[in-house]
Structure formats: structure tokens, C-alpha cells
């Protein structure tokens, strides 16, 4: 159990694929101009991560070391094809919006990195947890960035959510400002880079605050026995 908690914390915070490893930036920056796109890509990426981690860890003893990377890519690509076909048949409008970025999940370095660095060395249960948590950590950043850019850029939240949630989604849309002209830069690539930079800075700030708090606590703990 302790082990699973550690994997979870790694995936969500300490080794967050988007904020610490800075992997998978291409889809991260390209599709986050609104929350709905971000959620869709997040779900797709998480599914592929879990499935590829599971299959890689199951087959890890049968794959020769020399050819492991092509085999991993082959496994990842088959799951991406599954996602691609599912989206094409059930969420066709969303499929059109995400376009090339669904097939491009194959080249998302975060997925290959987890297969190589974790799943090929660990049992299947740990690999599934790792895939899930890495995927969720990645998706949280996607959604956060998508929300920032959508609020600033178009003044709405959950626009077009009906494309993935059906009728339920159309009620989700929130409009913050009426007749908002929009800060276009937030929707353009520079806005994505600036937004990601701000989120990374925020994470580093929280980490350094925690570190100082910890060192203060530690020094107190070591000092106290001497004073007593």
C-alpha cells in the first residue's frame, strides 16, 4: 500500500510528466485552447498510458532487450489506433477538432518514457497504478492550462462540452463576461507557453515553500534536545 501511495504521489506531483519531466509538450500546448479539448485529450492519453503500461509489464520478460523500443512503440500504437477508432465512431466532432493530435499520442514521449523507465521493470499492478497516476497528473495540467486559456481568451468555460458529454455537457458552459472581445494571445501559441511557464513556476514555488518549512522544522527538531 505504501508503495502504491508513493507511485501516486510521483505521478501526480513529484514527477508530473507535464510539469517536471516536461514531456508531451506538443499536444499539451497545441490543444489546450479550451477545457473540453483538454479533457478529451487527457482521457485519451490516460487510457493509452494505462493500457501500454499494463501490456509492457505483462510482456516484459518475453521482449528481448535489443528490440524493446520498437516493440513498445508497436504496443502503444495499437492502443492509440483503438482510441482513434473509438473517437471517430462515437465522438466524431471532437475527433475533427483534435485532428492530428489523436494519432500523435503515439509520439508522446511521456508514454514511451513510462514504458521504458517503469513498466519494463515492474509488476503489472504497479505499472497500471503508475500509468493511471501519470495520466491523471498530465490531464490535470492539461485542464488547468485549458481553463486559464479559455477564460482569458474567450471568456467562457466548458464551451462545446456537449461534444464529449452529450446533452449533459451543454448545460456546463459558463460565460464569464458578456460581449467579451477576448485576449487573443491566450488562444495563440505564445499564450500556451506563458501559461505553462506560470504553472511550472507555481509548482516550484510550492515546492520551495515546503522545503523551507521542512528545513525549519528539522533544525528546530535538532536544536531542541540541546536546549533542553
Amino acid at each position: 500500500m505504501q508503495e502504491y501511495l508513493k507511485i501516486t504521489r510521483n505521478g501526480l506531483w513529484n514527477n508530473n510528466q507535464a510539469l517536471v519531466a516536461l514531456l508531451g509538450l506538443c499536444p499539451l500546448l497545441a490543444v489546450t485552447n479550451n477545457v473540453t479539448n483538454a479533457i478529451s485529450l487527457g482521457i485519451a492519453t490516460t487510457f493509452v498510458l494505462v493500457a501500454s503500461n499494463l501490456s509492457v509489464s505483462l510482456f516484459r520478460n518475453h521482449i528481448r532487450k535489443e528490440v524493446r523500443i520498437p516493440i513498445f512503440i508497436l504496443l502503444i500504437a495499437s492502443f492509440v489506433t483503438v482510441v482513434d477508432l473509438i473517437m471517430q465512431s462515437f465522438f466524431y466532432d471532437m475527433y475533427l477538432i483534435l485532428g492530428i493530435f489523436v494519432p500523435l499520442i503515439v509520439t508522446n514521449c511521456a508514454i514511451l518514457a513510462r514504458a521504458e523507465a517503469f513498466a519494463s521493470k515492474n509488476t503489472w499492478d504497479r505499472s497500471v497504478i503508475d500509468g493511471l497516476m501519470m495520466g491523471v497528473g498530465f490531464s490535470i495540467v492539461l485542464v488547468l492550462l485549458g481553463a486559464m486559456r479559455e477564460i482569458l481568451g474567450s471568456g467562457t468555460l466548458f464551451d462545446q462540452a456537449d461534444l464529449i458529454f452529450g446533452d449533459l455537457g451543454s448545460g456546463l458552459k459558463v460565460t464569464f463576461f458578456d460581449q467579451y472581445q477576448g485576449t487573443l494571445i491566450a488562444l495563440l501559441p505564445p499564450g500556451a507557453f506563458i501559461g505553462l511557464g506560470l504553472i511550472v513556476a507555481l509548482k516550484n514555488l510550492i515546492d520551495s515553500r515546503q522545503m523551507t518549512a521542512q528545513t525549519v522544522a528539522n533544525s528546530k527538531a535538532t536544536l531542541e534536545p540541546q536546549t533542553n
Binding site: Q181, L184, I185, L188
Partner: protein
């Protein structure tokens, strides 16, 4: 002649004085709305910088007192249309101070010219407000009403000659038939030229960047003019329109973001001049100074690396 070394504050103050003639020309032709913009910009700049310095946990007074934030604010305020709504300049200056300067560690550490970064941010984000220039003289009260949103901007705006050339050329009208001579643009640019020469004489800026930038503009526009004088304006047009003189003497010469070697400065200025014409003529936005300067800012480390002067004796 002995050259007294000026400190940062004195340099910034001299540069601000040198801007006065160009600003004066703007006031003469378009009314004092630009002064409202400068006032708003300076207040916003000082407040933003103080808040951010506090956030960074550094001392506020010495950094604000060097006057660089005021100069950035003034430069941005005179670059934007003088009747833009108040939140344009407030957002622009805050962006320039935070993302252009403080986030890199304050004055001296910023790779990009803060004022031009603010301008590019505004132009990309709010293209509508950023292209509505005053058409004629507007009184102070009327300007204040427009800036603070009390009255409508309609009827007060007009195209600048750079806009005019762009739209007319796309309609297939040869350039000789256009009314190009804009007396106000001419005098504003002459104002900045005189201010710039004053700075040169005071040795606050060096001759390399202004001279090479202006020759870059002349070379590129003449080359295009020789290719087809029906489609491309002459080099005189490019010299006295838009922000050419402001860029040559006040913006590209920013000591923090410009190249620092003698031959590097010439390359830097010349390429900015060429890019200004290319982006003006072929780009989607009417004026190009901000983009040209920002593009060359990022190449400055490379230019400096390859133009290191030889160390004596080696």
C-alpha cells in the same frame, strides 16, 4: 571634451527629455491625448514594479528610482494609438514590466525590450483597439471621454499612411496615385530624429545602431522600389512613416537588449532595418518595429558571440 559618466537615472532622464520633441509633434497634430496615455502608463508602471518587487522580496526603492520603468512606460505610451481605451495601456505596461523585465530578474537581465514586448502583446491580443489611430486634432476633454469609455470612438479614427498603402495596394491601385504625404507623420518622425541626434551628441547612445538601422531601411526599401515602383513605396516613405525614427534612436538602442560589440551593433541595427521593411510590406500588421526588434533581441547573444573584438596582444 570630457565625457561625464552618467548614472542610470540620469541616462533615463536624458532619454525621456529627448523624446519631448516627438511627443510635442504628436500633441500639436493629434491633441494631448498622448499625454493622458503617458500619465496612465507611468502610474501603472510604477505600481506594477513596486508590487512585483515586493513579491520578489527585493528592495523597492533603488530599483524604481533608476527610472527605467518610467522610460519603458513612456515608450509604450507613445507607440500605441493615443485614443486607445485606458485598459489597453494599463494591461500593456503591466505585461511589459512583469513578463518583459521583472520575471527575468529586473533591469539588465531581460533578453527582450520590455516596451516592445508590451506592444507586441497588445497588438496580437487586441488588434481592433490597437489600429484605431486618431484622424485629426482631438481636444483634451474629448480625448479623455474616449479613453475612459464615456463617448464613442466612431468618427474620430482614421487609417495611418502605412495602413492606407496596405489596403489600397491590395485593391490593385498603383502606388503613384495614392496620397502618401502625411505631414503629421513627417513632423513626428523629424521630432524623434532631432531628439535622437541630441542623444548622440550627449554620447548617451552610439552612432552604430541608428545609422545601420536607417541604412537597412533604405537598402531594403530601395531594392523593392527598384524591383517594382508600382507596388512598393520609396525609401523616403518608409523613413518618415510609422515608428522608424523612434525605433532607430530610442528603441533599438536600449543598452540592455541591444548587441554590445561595435561590429555587432552594426549587424543588429542593419538587420532590424531590413526586417522593418519586410514585415511592413509583406506582413499582416501595418507597422513592424516591435516584431523586428524582438526578433533581433533574441539573436543578440549569437551576434555578440561572433563579433567579439580581438584581445590586444593575442
Amino acid at each position: 571634451m570630457t565625457v561625464k559618466l552618467l548614472n542610470t537615472n540620469q541616462i533615463m532622464r536624458q532619454v525621456s527629455y529627448a523624446l519631448a520633441l516627438g511627443v510635442g509633434a504628436q500633441v500639436y497634430f493629434f491633441g494631448s491625448s498622448v499625454l493622458i496615455q503617458i500619465f496612465l502608463a507611468c502610474i501603472t508602471g510604477l505600481i506594477t514594479e513596486a508590487l512585483f518587487l515586493r513579491l520578489r522580496g527585493s528592495e523597492i526603492k533603488p530599483e524604481i528610482a533608476d527610472g527605467s520603468v518610467v522610460l519603458t512606460a513612456i515608450l509604450l505610451a507613445i507607440s500605441i494609438p493615443s485614443i486607445a481605451p485606458w485598459w489597453i495601456i494599463v494591461l500593456g505596461v503591466s505585461f511589459a514590466v512583469i513578463f518583459g523585465k521583472q520575471i527575468f530578474g529586473g533591469l539588465g537581465n531581460n533578453p527582450f525590450n520590455p516596451a516592445m514586448l508590451g506592444y507586441a502583446f497588445l497588438l496580437i491580443s487586441y488588434p481592433m483597439q490597437m489600429t484605431q489611430w486618431p484622424a485629426d486634432y482631438i481636444s483634451m476633454g474629448q480625448a479623455a471621454d474616449v479613453i475612459f469609455g464615456l463617448s464613442n470612438i466612431d468618427g474620430l479614427t482614421g487609417a495611418t499612411s502605412l495602413d492606407h498603402v496596405k489596403t489600397q495596394l491590395t485593391m490593385g491601385i498603383p502606388i503613384q496615385e495614392l496620397e502618401l504625404n502625411s505631414i503629421s507623420q513627417l513632423w513626428i518622425n523629424i521630432g524623434f530624429l532631432i531628439g535622437g541626434i541630441y542623444l548622440l551628441l550627449r554620447r548617451i547612445i552610439l552612432w552604430q545602431i541608428p545609422v545601420s538601422l536607417l541604412s537597412g531601411v533604405v537598402v531594403m526599401s530601395t531594392a523593392l522600389y527598384l524591383v517594382d515602383s508600382n507596388q512598393f513605396a520609396s525609401s523616403l516613405f518608409h523613413l518618415v512613416n510609422g515608428a522608424t525614427m523612434l525605433a532607430a534612436f530610442f528603441i533599438a538602442t536600449d543598452p540592455v537588449t541591444a548587441s554590445t560589440t561595435p561590429s555587432g551593433r552594426i549587424i543588429y541595427g542593419f538587420l532590424i532595418g531590413i526586417l522593418i521593411v519586410i514585415i511592413r510590406v509583406f506582413g499582416g500588421y501595418p507597422d513592424a518595429v516591435a516584431f523586428a526588434v524582438l526578433l533581433l533581441n533574441i539573436t543578440v547573444p549569437l551576434i555578440d558571440f561572433y563579433t567579439q573584438p580581438k584581445v590586444f596582444g593575442k
